[in-house]
């Protein structure tokens, strides 16, 4: 197995008495990895530790095989898109990207070409000579992504790339992230508090909450593992839940439905029997692919 891009062992970061990250172990392989967690979970702190901007309180991390703290050389191979605004409004996108490429170590002549290429890839070719102050939020997000990629990094860390975007802009940004990973071959770590973003974009997921990792693995494993059936009945829901319980099937009320997490296909026969036994009027019985939100429910009760 190839060396992980990022590896953390007992990684801990305290800000005074506040514990931002506690005893984190993770291995990030090539591809797109999602760092999922609510605000304040420690995602941005983890990214800053991997970028070498913060010194860990305890534990250690390696990024591209090297310790990142104060390691200037490693930053030539990393890209970073911060969550917050970070664009100088008095420059054009072309000037800004060219400058960022040069500050990443690329000579001026090549930097201008890279800037033009990247703006084309993020769909801002026509707008490249406009001042950044004239850009919409969606366009600014794309420039932020472009600056993270302009020096052709091995890996890019994207902190909440869809923050502040409307649904259409969010879809566009996620599409760009997928292209960056799949077509450009650049490894990505994406942080988000939105499960949909991670689910639709990432190959792997690391769920983080309160500074600790709750789960990590392939997204497909999670969604498969949490395959759920929804039973919509007009009446006798409580009786149905009790009957399912008698047959050894755990269920819960989910909106207007009774949700059942299936362990095996044989349990579908048990559901049929429970429905027959309780005489509940069945409106719908449908499988629903599990969602990452199930992970939170499972871990936070």
């Amino acid at each position: 197995m190839s060396q992980p891009l990022i590896e953390a062992q007992n990684l801990t970061k305290h800000y005074g008495k506040t514990i931002a990250l506690h005893d984190v172990d993770m291995r990030v392989r090539a591809g797109i990895t999602g760092l999922l967690g609510p605000n304040g979970a420690g995602k941005s702190t983890a990214m800053k530790l991997f970028l070498g901007l913060l010194r860990p309180t305890a534990g250690a991390a390696t990024v591209l095989g090297e310790a990142p703290y104060d390691n200037v050389a490693i930053r030539m191979r990393l890209g970073y898109m911060p969550e917050h605004d970070c664009l100088p409004d008095f420059l054009t996108a072309s000037e800004f990207l060219s400058h960022m490429a040069q500050v990443s170590g690329i000579p001026p002549k090549h930097a201008r070409t890279r800037a033009a290429d990247m703006l084309r890839h993020v769909g801002l070719d026509e707008e490249r000579y406009r001042h950044l102050r004239e850009y919409s939020t969606g366009m600014k997000q794309r420039v932020k992504l472009a600056q993270a990629l302009v020096h052709d990094p091995v890996m890019v860390l994207l902190d909440e790339p869809t923050a502040g975007l409307d649904p259409a802009g969010r879809e566009e940004m996620l599409g760009l992230v997928r292209r960056t990973g799949q077509e450009f071959g650049i490894n990505i770590m994406l942080s988000s508090h939105l499960m949909g973003d991670v689910e639709s974009t990432c190959d792997r997921i690391i769920v983080i909450e309160g500074g600790s990792i709750i789960e990590q693995g392939d997204v497909s494993e999670f969604t498969q593992e949490t395959e759920t059936f929804y039973i919509d009945v007009d009446d006798r829901r409580e009786e149905l839940i009790a009957a399912l319980q008698d047959l050894g099937i755990q269920s819960r009320i989910a909106g207007a439905s009774v949700a059942v997490r299936l362990r095996s296909e044989d349990q579908l026969d048990d559901i049929r029997d429970a429905l027959a036994q309780t005489q509940a009027r069945l409106r719908r019985l449908a499988p629903s692919r599990g969602e990452l939100s199930d992970i939170f429910r499972r871990n936070t009760g």
């Binding site: 970073y80 970070c86 400058h99 690329i106 020096h151 071959g185």
Partner: protein, 318 residues
């Protein structure tokens, strides 16, 4: 006749396999960016007004001298130290306005974050910005001094002989220029590191220097009294002027209080370098102190703010 078919290929994403300059390239590009920012290059006309005014105010006095020296048969010579005394406050004024342009927009727009995740340390960032500022200021300053040298040599009876006799002025005015420009660039940069508003940074620096000058002047004011004696000669009262006695408000401590005028700290060293034979009141007082004192005072005024500037960026959370 066959016609070649033109086709457009989308090459897709191309990985970069050209040269990478690393930290040195990163530093150089930030330095060039700072240099261009100071001069307003690549920006609108308004951005060029301030550097143009700075150059004009600093270079105009020696340029006028040069014209007079060229036109008049015998012209007055001007000392390099006097020009520094005249221009250092102007330089400080312009530096107070220009320095915030180098640091504050980056912090306010949070572009600093993007610099610090590239092959640059916080130290590199500050040094690149400051050294570009120092270079521009030093070039303007030295240009004025070169004009003075030319004007003085033209004003002399024999220009060649004058230059042979006074060639040591060249390393002197270069050294004094470095001392003055390090001072006038470091303090405004340090102040700009602690505020988000350019006007506040500029106003603070200007106010600090404007206030300390009269404060020092008041504390070192000299009072002179002359005694008058009356005598009767041949039946007439004759008034005789006695010896004039001068003393300063703060007595012997005046030589210390003169240091309060922080804007003069670098020009005191310039006076020492040129061994100025026409010193002003402040220089006379400073000359009473051991030479190590004004040197240490200057060092403190430069190293203190410089260290604060580096500390601020080292501790900056992004």
């Amino acid at each position: 006749m066959s016609q070649a078919q033109a086709e457009i290929y989308d090459l897709g994403y191309q990985h970069y396999d050209g040269p990478r300059g690393g930290r040195t390239q990163a530093f150089r590009s930030l330095w060039v960016n700072s240099f261009r920012t100071i001069l307003g290059l690549g920006r609108g006309g308004r951005a060029k007004v301030l550097p143009a005014l700075m150059a004009l105010f600093v270079i105009a006095p020696p340029a006028v001298l040069l014209v007079l020296a060229a036109m008049l048969p015998v012209a007055e010579q001007v000392s390099h130290a006097d020009l520094y005394t005249l221009t250092s406050m102007l330089l400080l004024l312009f530096s107070a306005i220009i320095a915030p342009e180098l640091l504050i927009p980056d912090r306010r727009n949070r572009v600093t974050t993007l610099y610090l995740v590239r092959p640059l340390t916080a130290f590199d960032y500050v040094i690149a910005r400051w050294s570009a500022f120092l270079t521009v200021t030093l070039l303007v300053t030295l240009f004025g001094q070169v004009l003075v040298l030319i004007a003085n040599s033209l004003a002399a009876e024999q220009a060649r002989a004058f230059l042979q006799e006074n060639w040591l002025d060249i390393p002197r005015f270069i050294l004094a220029g470095v001392i003055i420009t390090v001072f006038v660039t470091t303090i405004p940069m340090a102040v700009a590191a602690f505020t988000e508003r350019r006007a506040y940074a500029a106003a603070f620096v200007i106010a600090a220097f404007v206030i300390t000058t009269p404060m020092s002047g008041l504390l070192t004011t000299e009072w002179c009294e002359s005694s008058v004696t009356f005598a009767v000669e041949n039946g007439e009262v004759v008034e005789e002027a006695g010896a004039e006695e001068c003393r300063r408000v703060t007595g012997d401590y005046a030589k210390w209080f003169v240091l309060l005028d922080v804007g003069r700290a670098p020009t005191h060293l310039a006076d020492m370098i040129f061994d100025d034979d026409t010193p002003d009141d402040a220089s006379i007082l400073v000359a009473e102190l051991p030479p190590a004192v004004p040197i240490a005072w200057y060092g403190l005024l430069v190293i203190g703010p410089g260290a604060l500037l580096l500390w601020r960026y080292r501790r900056m959370s992004i």
